[in-house]
């Protein structure tokens, strides 16, 4: 059989299969097409809205995305989406919103980030994506400055409190006939602080120095005593004998039971050596005479600091006594000075926090540059196109099922089947000529 005859034969066989299983093809096609149409018609339309935000980065490097936060994650975070839900009053579940949201990071060398949201309602899609863009901008700023804002709030409260105290003290001073002290908190005042405070500080320092000197003197004494004993040969000899006797005693205890008679002798020897050492060290130290130069120096310094502490204690007592008998006016003045100092330090801290916050803001921000507009355009393919594609696929499936059914059909239809069954060649196929073939060969009127 030539290749072309083979092809013709195959085509004829294929048509035969289709003809034999035409009912099956029609049934499969109809059922699947009906199901597809139902599914496609029930699938809701989806509209997509897009908003663009600009990531303004204060970093001087060329690529603005390198130092920006993981913006897509923030866009889809529950914090942002919950705020959007609350603000817009929508009831779409968070999980659905996350699935319908697409945010891609800005491309290289670009600061524009695209946010897309899909919804079955076109107006809602635009509203939600715009809400997300706005919320992202404010949340980004919040993240940058959150820690400074808390500090600033606390400092503002404290400054207000101090200001109120100052105003109260000023009113009292005025009432008692004191000088007209301005309550302008920006004016510089006397920064010397109270005398009592100064004395207290000095006393603390002097006491610390005294403790240091005492410790130094003790260390110097120990060093001197060690030097004396090291220079005493009898002491050294007794010490080495004690070491040996102690070792013998320990060894005997390991070897023998406590009833061993030699143990008590060894113990007595160790005890007597210890007593002799103590006696000898006392004797050596007594004979040493005066203290070493270091000891003397440390003792002298300690004495001086001790005297200083005592003097400061006396001065403090005098000042406290003075304060307790000072006039109410004077007391008010002192109190005002104290409050003013506190106010100044809080104001300085607030200025520092403001500066840090400004610095944090300079690292970047997010601005909405393109808002979404409700669009009639649906995402994905239209229903008609989907149906056509489904019809094509279903046709293939239907024809495929016919060929599958034919393959699974065990009845004798193919040459290979027959020859395989009998093991002999198929010599002839007795088939009546079809109507078309009769027409082709010019014998249309033959009766069959």
């Amino acid at each position: 059989m030539t290749p072309s005859q083979q092809i013709v034969g195959n085509i004829r066989n294929a048509f035969g299969v289709i003809r034999r299983h035409s009912l099956l093809i029609a049934a499969v096609f109809s059922v699947l097409l009906a199901v597809s149409i139902i599914v496609i018609s029930k699938t809701p339309r989806t509209y997509e809205a897009t908003a663009n935000v600009l990531v303004v980065n204060g970093n001087s490097r060329n690529d603005p995305t390198l130092s920006s936060l993981d913006l897509p994650s923030i866009v889809g975070s529950t914090v942002v989406l919950e705020r959007v839900q609350r603000k817009l009053g929508i009831t779409t579940p968070l999980l659905t919103m996350k699935k319908s949201l697409v945010a891609k990071p800005p491309a290289y060398r670009s600061g524009i980030m695209r946010i897309q949201y899909a919804d079955s309602d076109r107006d809602r899609a635009a509203k939600v994506v715009n809400g997300i863009a706005d919320e992202l901008a404010s949340y980004y700023t919040e993240l940058s400055t959150a820690r400074y804002d808390d500090d600033l709030r606390a400092l503002d409260v404290e400054i207000y409190r101090q200001k109120k105290r100052l105003e109260s003290i000023d009113r009292q001073l005025k009432a008692q006939g004191g000088e007209d002290l301005t309550t302008d908190v920006d004016q510089d005042g006397d920064a010397s602080g109270s005398q009592v405070g100064n004395l207290r500080s000095q006393r603390t320092l002097a006491y610390a120095d005294l403790q240091g000197d005492i410790a130094h003197a003790q260390a110097a004494t120990i060093d001197a005593q060690r030097d004396i004993l090291l220079g005493d040969p009898l002491y050294q000899e007794l010490q080495s004998s004690l070491t040996k006797a102690s070792a013998d005693l320990a060894d005997a205890r390991l070897r023998y039971t406590p009833q061993y008679p030699g143990l008590s002798a060894l113990q007595n020897r160790v005890d007597s050596l210890k007593a002799a050492i103590a006696q000898e060290s006392a004797k050596a130290l007594n004979n040493a005479g005066s203290a070493s130069p270091d000891e003397l120096k440390a003792q002298a310094s300690a004495q001086a600091n001790r005297a200083k502490v005592i003097a400061l204690d006396q001065e403090l007592a005098a000042e406290n006594k003075k304060l307790s008998v000072a006039s109410p006016l004077e007391q008010l003045r002192l109190e005002r000075q104290e409050v003013f100092h506190e106010y100044q330090s809080v104001a300085a801290r607030r200025a520092t926090s403001l500066a840090d916050r400004a610095d944090a803001l300079s690292l970047g921000s997010v601005e909405v540059v393109d808002r979404a507009i409700p669009s009639e355009e649906q995402t994905g393919m239209g229903r008609i196109r989907l149906t056509l594609i489904a019809a094509v696929v279903i046709s293939i499936v239907a024809f495929g099922s016919a060929f599958l059914a034919d393959q699974l059909d065990p009845s004798l239809r193919r040459i290979t089947q027959i020859e395989g069954l009998y093991g002999k060649p198929l010599i002839a196929t007795l088939r009546r000529t079809s109507r078309q073939e009769r027409l082709l060969i010019g014998k249309p009127n033959e009766q069959s």
Binding site: S411, I418, Y422, K424, L426, I427, A428, R431, E437, S448
Partner: protein
């Protein structure tokens, strides 16, 4: 169509061009395989597989090429002894170029097995579209074990077979294509014809 010698030919099948072509192929193949004189037996595993159609077409085609052809039919229920068959076939050999025997369904008649080693070639008829059976699988092997020479398979479409059976049912006479015979041949032939006529 009535032939000169009084036999009756079915016209409806033989004039179909498609069938004619296949019949020519069949006869050419048989002639090439077996040469002449030859006795060809048509059998099948199941009833209604187109044995009679095949036998008729083969005989008609051979006869068209001016061979001396004898077509005969052996009913299922008839049993003939081996010696009778052998003698009969010897005579057919000498009187005809081709003898076509429309035999019974395989395994329904011992005659088929008896004839297997006596005939020159066996054609197996099968109907297109029926399911294969165990007899299909074993038939060729058994025939060859009995000394048969299975030449090949002839497949026939169901509606072609049905049409042939319908047309044959309308006809009053046995389908037979053969020239005049001498008396001896006539008696042997009469034996077979009597059996065939009884069937009709």
């Amino acid at each position: 169509m009535n032939n000169r010698d009084g036999t009756h030919t079915l016209v409806n099948v033989a004039t179909d061009p498609g069938l004619n072509k296949q019949a020519q192929l069949l006869s050419a193949r048989v002639e090439a395989e077996l040469g002449k004189p030859a006795v060809v037996m048509i059998t099948s595993a199941c009833a209604g597989d187109g044995k009679s159609l095949t036998a008729y077409l083969l005989a008609a085609s051979l006869e068209k090429y001016n061979h001396r052809v004898s077509l005969m039919e052996i009913p299922n229920e008839e049993e003939t002894s081996h010696e009778q068959l052998s003698a009969f076939l010897e005579k057919m050999h000498s009187n005809y170029d081709f003898t076509v025997i429309d035999a019974a369904t395989f395994l329904k008649s011992n005659t088929v097995l008896s004839l297997a080693r006596l005939v020159d070639g066996i054609l197996v008829a099968v109907r297109i579209g029926r399911a294969p059976t165990a007899d299909d699988e074993s038939m060729v092997g058994i025939l060859e074990e009995f000394g048969g020479n299975v030449v090949g398979v002839v497949a026939a479409e169901a509606d072609t077979i049905a049409n042939f059976e319908r047309a044959r049912g309308e006809g009053p006479a046995v389908t037979r294509l053969q020239p005049r015979l001498n008396a001896e041949q006539n008696s042997a032939q009469a034996l077979m014809a009597a059996r065939a006529e009884r069937m009709l």
